[in-house]
Amino acid sequence: MDKQELMQRLKEQIIKQLKLEGTKPESIGDHDPLFVEGLGLDSIDALELIVLLQQEYKIKLNNAEQGQEVFRSVSTMADFIMERQAKQV
């Protein structure tokens, strides 16, 4: 799966996990900020995204600070997942 496909899948999973009814994957920009601006997510959503990473990609965040970098946008999430998956191989 290339990054573009992964980002599309992530957008669909974020919408489902966070119950963002009325939001379509195409309305989420690859580099749009996920928190405060952009999707306007909050700290509870951050916990839901950590669960999403573990559940769907078997990836655990090492520390909370890492989350700020990883969850900046769909693009940074995809980069993080691909980097971890490459290490696992």
């Binding site: 966070l18 119950k19 963002l20 009814e21 009325g22 306007g40 509870i44 916990l47 839901e48 669960v51 573990q54 559940q55």
Partner: protein, 339 residues
């Protein structure tokens, strides 16, 4: 204490529609007719709310609007089962993912006090907030706490209510006890066989210490018991005596019979011996049976007083008694008078 407003999300669309063309349900349960929540709840908040939270918030906001009150001095809620859908989601994930990867939203919102807390968050209300989880007397406990706060001068206006919901899993589990049956809700009270139909609802009220211009009714008294062992006739008789209300002064008696022949005998005895079978009306054909259904009965009584409409030929009731006895363990009584 006085009732300034009453609002309910119930299996009936509205009080007026309940009088003219009540919603009729076939099966073993009555589910709520839900309003357009976008009128009450910010779309950003609504995505995390389960059905019972939305029902509770909508009923509470409507009650506050009708009372023309923006900030209550306290929020008090009663619920027997709490937020079942979130509890179900949380527990199911615990099993599915071996107690890992638990959804924080379901966990946070699975607690019984979520509805009261959510209302407070939306209102930015930092005042007294309590939720009573006392099975069949949860709403009564909430009302008694309301009464105490008002009488002690701790509050002037209190938002009080009750919520309970049916979800698929809980209904399947409770059904194993054989307490529900297939019926038609409009024929339920005369069905004469074992079992009843399940129900659910959210009812909220604004109670005030003093009579206001928009007060609808005075709640003269409320009492609740648990496995008292005393005869219902004696309990009701004493309750009326304590309030100096002879039976003949009651315009209407709302009873909690639910169509289950095992428990309806109890209500039939009360109806005949104490009230001579007159001025009686049931309510569980409208809302089904659930532990906090007496809140629906209080909503119905308040609406009847407010609208002065009639049910079963009881015209414009001014004084109403409600008697419910959930599972014949939790007898409760309410006495209302028109303002």
């Amino acid at each position: 204490m006085y009732i300034r407003s009453a609002s309910a999300v119930s299996p009936q669309a509205s009080f007026n529609q309940m009088l003219s063309t009540p919603a009729v349900y076939t099966g073993d349960k009555l589910n709520c007719i839900e309003p357009d929540y976008s009128k009450y709840i910010d779309p950003k908040l609504i995505r995390r709310m389960s059905r019972i939270i939305k029902m509770g918030v909508a009923a509470a906001m409507e009650a506050l609007k009708d009372a023309e009150l923006s900030m209550p001095d306290a929020i008090i809620t009663g619920t027997a089962y709490g937020c079942l859908a979130d509890t179900d989601a949380f527990l199911s994930r615990m099993v599915e993912f071996n107690e890992e990867l638990l959804s924080p939203t379901s966990f946070i919102q699975s607690t019984h006090n979520t509805v009261g807390a959510q209302i407070a968050l939306m209102l930015h209300c930092h005042h007294y907030n309590n939720t009573y989880v006392h099975r069949g007397s949860s709403f009564e406990a909430a009302v008694l706490d309301t009464q105490s706060l008002l009488e002690e001068g701790e509050a002037e206006n209190i938002l009080v209510g009750a919520v309970d919901e049916i979800i698929e899993n809980s209904h399947a589990i409770i059904s194993r006890f054989g307490i529900y049956k297939e019926s038609e809700s409009n024929k339920l009270l005369n069905s004469g066989t074992d079992g009843t139909m399940a129900g659910e609802g959210a009812s909220f009220f604004v109670f005030s210490k003093n009579k206001e211009q928009n007060s609808i009714a005075k709640l003269e008294d409320v009492k609740t018991y648990y496995k008292t062992g005393r005869k219902a006739e004696n309990i009701i008789h004493n309750f009326l005596m304590e309030n100096n209300v002879p039976v003949e002064n009651l315009d209407l008696i709302i009873l909690g019979n639910n169509g289950d022949s095992k428990t309806d005998e109890h209500y039939n005895t009360v109806a005949q011996h104490l009230f001579g079978g007159k001025r009686l009306v049931g309510y569980k054909n409208y809302c089904g049976e659930y532990p906090t259904s007496s809140a629906f009965a209080l909503w119905m009584a308040t609406m009847m007083i407010e609208h002065g409409k009639k049910i079963n030929n009881a015209t414009s009731p001014k004084k109403i008694l409600i008697y419910n006895n959930y599972k014949l363990k939790y007898p409760s009584l309410y006495l209302l008078s028109a303002c």
